[in-house]
Symmetry: D2
Subunit: 494 residues, 4 copies
């Protein structure tokens, strides 16, 4: 424990140092946080016009990150890079953008848009030159001992250009004198936390998934070549064939001699991220051995069983809880309907009106359908409640549209602890479920009833217990040393 | 009839002249067509920061036009304008965009994005100076005798800066020596076709709807002032109160003495556009005395009654046929589910891959949910079939995802004739229902069964027969003189 | 005189009406002024890739206007247009910009950047459709009876889309029922003032210069085809051969039958603009039968003869008075040197520092060369003094750099009256020479002596008296009706 | 010598590795070259609104680099950064760009535009976090042993994010365990070559100039604070007071305790860059104890003495040889005149015409003044000849404009060897003076005579021999190990 305290202090120092270099993280202010982003990755080997296929795959993964996009290709023993801020479609606009990305191998990355603008310096893939040549890496997840490792590396002369946690891995890899594969295995054994990452050297693609398997990473075939991506929806768009998931702890090397695997030491338990199923992945994807859509329907059904409501209609907060609301309605024998219309034209910036428009933030995104809601007792199914502010506004809109009662049903347990493994969540004191009992939450949000699924319910539905429940019960499967500094946000909350 | 032929020839001349001046209508080629766009309009009188409220209202009407956006305000007896190509959010990005639009009155316009790019020259509102001072106008609809009138005007010395049909109206207004209101009534009596338009002079707002009432136009109150818009969803966002619809043939003048109405000669029959209910308007809007959502649910129910299917699941083509599919499922006693996931990140341009990806155009927009479709007999509810090419691709995607059977159900009759009243449709020979019987359409699209609602069904559901059915039966309620030249497109078809 | 007063009042009305529609003329405020711009024009007939050649010619004429640029081409009986705000290089950036401008005929225009931003609506060429088909026009000059004509046209039903004076000409042309050439001659006989304009119909190029010949317009051959431009420097860049100047009052029609001329009624006296030679044209151009560079050298020499100075060194305000300073130095037997370095990186916007930097506006553009100036008695040759504010700042910079004395010498008479014929000048009360005697100007500007050439000197140098001297003596060669409203600015003054 | 060969091989390896990671260096191709750029730097300490002052200073230094611009400020123990591709005015456009750069200390950098586009990854300042906290650095010069050091660093585990040579320095600094100042002195003692660099930590500004003093670095006062910049013209714009030059080998630390100096081991000889005086610096600057303008005038005078010409007029290639041409003319007793007009509207890209225009590359930049040249024997004074291609084109333009004879006079010796110390020059085989005798150069360029100053002439004029003459005689004052790979370009050559 002594050591823990020590490293806490170390981390404070490291964090402070980090913060000092944060550049213009936000138009509003610099924030004391190493980015903890949900992201999407893709890798291609031996695929003609790899950069264009990578672009399409990133487009399919756009829901996993809207802040920046980047692609690195390998061509004639050289890596070529293009990245930028914005949507995939905005960063890659013209044929000429692909002419500078020749080659049959590529990796790509999309990054989650946290509130405010983070900088191009932190966009991925990262590309470096080191003792073994060139290397590019794109990462989905969060390395929980990054600050600790970083501090040690700094102590021994390392310099850091970004605040991306993956840079730590690159240093470890560069300092190890063994051959590339051994050095990589060794480096990946040192970093702790969540990582589904794709790497590319001049002649090789590498896929790696942490032993806990927090984030998905899927392997497929495309023509004669290979493809890997965060979700299968990327395969569907480019016409690739699903082969299997990269296994927790598996490192796959793909080069001209084919594909081979090595493994990191296994984790005590796997800890797949439940929120990939509940909220983050696209419903048409197939991850962790499950159809995302199907799991969501079942969660809704379970919720109807465990927490029925005396109501007239079931509605969703579109689009993420559509399937669950449908499942709830079916099992409850209530009609499902569309009670909120979601605008799909929201851009990154929005000029606010001078005069106050009540609940403007929610209104700009959702408009209630009066004919569905008027005079009705409504079951509102949502995937989660984080800070509660958006939920409160949505409920007001629904009531103003004439709903007599609103019964809120959530397809997961109360979110009481921040995620440390790659989902951008607020600090613990901003989590409504950390601060309030369910009964007080009900009052705060203004609903007639409020119910959640339990962790056991989730295990029942997913059919096993290989999942991480840290955000619901605080049982963090991988230790981390820094408690107080985590700060993150989720899109739906303001 | 002699005259008709004459004017046809005249129109050919006019059209040719027109085409000659078309500028760079498209990146691909100049096209022989006067734009026939579905658009959205808004008007505000005595509303503080009118330009910002207009911007929000246009944002809510964005689904009615994504090509260009513009706002004109009146301030100290001066009109101020800003317009540009792109989404509302792209044209109006900064506070400074509103600083050049001071004043408490405003009109605004969004224009439909036809394929290819049309030019800034044709964007609206149009703003002119003439004998009575300044005037701005924004138009939703299509004036069917514009070419004829235009040719006559040219013959008597008029010059045209745009190919927007509304420019004809402005010339008529300018040539009439009477007072403004009489001159406007007179000019509006001469133009034929569909117009829901908003105008602004230095001290007045004018709202006008053609006697047939093709397009909606809604009147409301906002604080001390007035608001009008194409749909009520614009009112919801800015917190305005719905008062009533502008009546067919009604011209409303709003100035410091208040609001007063005058009327054009009534039409033999009203002919509200059914497609506003079926497809175009937002489901949370309330137009033509109906909740759009509710009508769509009922159309789906009717379809289930009249054309049941022996199937396992009902799905929609999101988002426009969601409500109808729900209605079908409920009435048919079949489960509704989500079978297609729609991507919301599609921008105006998309770099295509080098290698052919089958049905790429549909794939980029929709991805099937295998778990919903696999092994299932699917009812696919859609709002309409225009050229049939997109339907064919969607059906292939659904079958490839494992659906055993696809039964397509359309909530309107076959679309056999182009719209002349403001919806951008292909030429008659490109309409699949004009060329093929329903049975042959079924084979072409590749479905197991294909059924449509009848015109009478539509009348039954909407409760009256004050609707235009021209696109379904060729009974054009307002005569027009030019047959062959109409060419238009709809977003869903390629 | 009665009529004059009448038309003044009419004009006030027209002007007011005009002002009401001015849109966002400037980021700061709407201004009561019909634009009076110095501009550059080009026309091409039967020249392959006409749009690219037009682009190069406009690039060579960029000094005549930096606000907007536009090109219209004729291709297969159709006119195609592209115009935009900014430099030629900014508006036309990619090959695709020229793909939408096919054809072997073209006209183009660059517009002067007045302070603040004027709108795309007023950029040229203007393109219209009227009784005879399509027509495009680009104009350099100023029509002095535009307001009067405009008011009459409005009275008889015309509508105006822009505040460009050329729009009046288009209305006159459209209302005349004769054949095109007669109608054009007739219309050009009605408009008064300065116009060097190029027009294009589907199959014809037209060049026209007003009878006074205020602005230059040069004719040349390029391969098999024809070219016309404001200055010969445009010919040099594209390798065209100079043929002759378009004569004052000459209208040239170029079509497949070749080139033919017609003439407007001659003016009592020609009145070529002296400022084209003194300031506006590029020194490497040859206009009005003169080498611009040579004339400027001679003006400097004359100045040395008539107004010698007891000094050590002669410097210019670069680059426009370089040649004159050289001439002065040579004739005076004094060394010429470079005393001010001009920055060439000034863009349209410049963020100002928070803290006051004295004479910042002049500093950002000019930096004194101390080694040239220190301890010296300096002759500063400049082309003109308009408001005097910039001169004052420059003199302060020179003195601060160590000059003992500054003797300012101007190669034209004091500028006492606004130009009405196409140069953008301030209102009369802002002209320092209108308000102050030369002696008081000397004190205000802070120089040890201040001398000007006389009108007679200018005539002596240019070898004839066919020049306009209105801005120097108020003898306006073409009457105009509106006195008080002129407001314009020149780049060098702030 | 053994070692030399060894390190050459090492460097080949390092260079190859480097090339592999070069990213999209150019739209045309990746190039095997570590950037060797002439650049401009600025540093500010204790100056309110430091970022705005840095911006103005960079604007004044814009001639030293047009490719990218960047500023880092220090605010509340945090570094904030903004950089981008393009001119200073393009990267910093709005007040909000400065709001994210708070603080009273700043460093800034502009980078030279080599042909093609290099990437944002290599733009400066570089900003890192390392053992001592945050650090930013901006560099003008070239470290000649960067590849060697880099290879050693890679061997011991370093990773490189850029191909900027300064990154090597940062690694050396990070690996040294001493206190910051000692570590910096130590690191700067290891790197060899040319460096005038500015650094910033959270609370300190550091200025450093290599012992040879290749590049200028000037120190001044601004109000209560300090300023340093590449040239004094930056001081003039912001109203700063010149104090002195940073001495060769001097390291200056500025923090709240004031300013103090330390020194690196002195070089055997100083080797100031002659080309800063001849070509690169702005004539209004004062560097190496000289007025740039004055030196250029004297070089022209010397040239007239040593290489007179029987001619009628002396002209310059504007603007860099203006002063020298003036000096030549004066001493030779010949008239100086303006024979070439330079366009100042050239942007970074220029669409080329389809048809071949002879000498287009020179024409777009220069147009001859026929009235100056026709029938004349012309002395053309230029600052240098690199590849000779532009000279050849200019001479053709001058002859085509009617010059009878062209006598070219160059104010430096033939350029026979590439610069290794920060000026971007072509490889040795592309240097015309390396390949041809002066007599053959004369024929190749097409002039009647061609003469150069000698090294001794340069020493005579500058008054001492503390200058680098490597590019003229191959006597490289600082050894470097890699011979064959240098490739660089100069703006004037194509």
């Amino acid at each position: 424990m002594k050591k823990m305290i020590q490293s806490n202090e170390d981390n404070k120092h490291a964090l402070k140092t980090q913060a000092k270099a944060c550049g213009y993280r936000s138009k509003r202010k610099c924030k004391n946080v190493i980015p903890k982003d949900e992201c999407g990755v893709v890798a291609l080997y031996n695929v003609p016009s790899a950069s264009k296929i990578a672009y399409l795959a990133l487009y399919a993964l756009q829901h996993r990150g809207q802040e920046s996009a980047g692609i690195v290709t390998s061509h004639e023993s050289r890596l070529c890079i293009k990245k930028g801020m914005g949507l995939v479609n905005e960063v890659f606009r013209e044929e000429s953008d692909f002419q500078i990305l020749p080659g049959n191998s590529a990796i790509g990355h999309v990054r989650y848009s946290t509130s405010g603008g983070t900088s191009i310096e932190n966009s991925q893939p990262l590309q470096i030159v080191y003792r073994r040549g060139s290397l590019a890496v794109a990462h989905n997840g969060n390395i929980v001992n990054a600050l600790e490792l970083r501090k040690n590396l700094e102590r021994t002369g390392a310099i850091f250009h970004t605040s991306v946690d993956t840079e730590v891995l690159l240093h470890l890899l560069a300092r190890n004198v063994g051959n590339f594969e051994d050095a990589l295995i060794s480096a990946l054994s040192i970093v702790k936390g969540a990582f589904s990452l794709v790497m590319m050297s001049e002649n090789k693609i590498i896929l790696a998934r942490d032993p806990n398997g927090f984030r998905p990473l899927i392997l497929g075939k495309l023509g004669e070549g290979w493809i890997a991506a965060s979700e299968t929806c990327a395969f569907d768009l480019v016409g690739a064939e699903f082969i299997r998931e990269v296994e927790p702890g598996e490192i796959i090397f793909i080069d001209e001699s084919g594909l081979r695997s090595r493994f990191l030491a296994p984790a005590a338990h796997q800890s797949l991220c439940l929120f990939e199923l509940i909220y983050f992945s696209r419903p048409d994807s197939f991850i962790f051995g499950n159809s995302v859509h199907e799991i969501r329907v079942k969660l809704g059904e379970k919720l109807a069983e465990t927490h029925p409501a005396d109501a007239d209609v079931v509605i969703s907060v579109p689009d993420s809880s559509n399937a669950s609301a449908l499942g709830y309605a079916k099992k409850a024998g209530l009609p499902f309907s569309f009670g909120l219309i979601r605008s799909h034209y929201i851009g990154r910036t929005f000029i606010e009106p001078d005069q106050k428009i009540r609940d403007f933030g929610a209104r700009i995104k959702y408009n209630p359908v009066a004919s569905t809601l008027k005079g009705k007792r409504v079951v509102l199914v949502d995937d989660s409640i984080v800070r509660g502010t958006t939920s409160k506004k949505i409920v007001r809109l629904i009531k103003k549209a004439g709903a007599k009662e609103v019964h809120m049903r959530i397809i997961c347990p109360p979110w009481t602890h921040p995620c440390r493994y790659g989902i951008d969540t607020p600090s613990i004191d901003q989590l409504i479920a950390h601060n309030l009992t369910v009964d007080k939450m009900k009052k705060e949000i203004g609903v007639n009833s409020l119910e959640f699924l339990s962790v056991q319910d989730l295990f029942d539905i997913t059919g096993n217990c290989s999942y991480c429940t840290a955000c619901m019960d605080g049982n963090y499967p991988v230790e981390f040393s820094d408690e107080s500094k985590i700060d993150a946000r989720r899109e739906d909350d303001e």
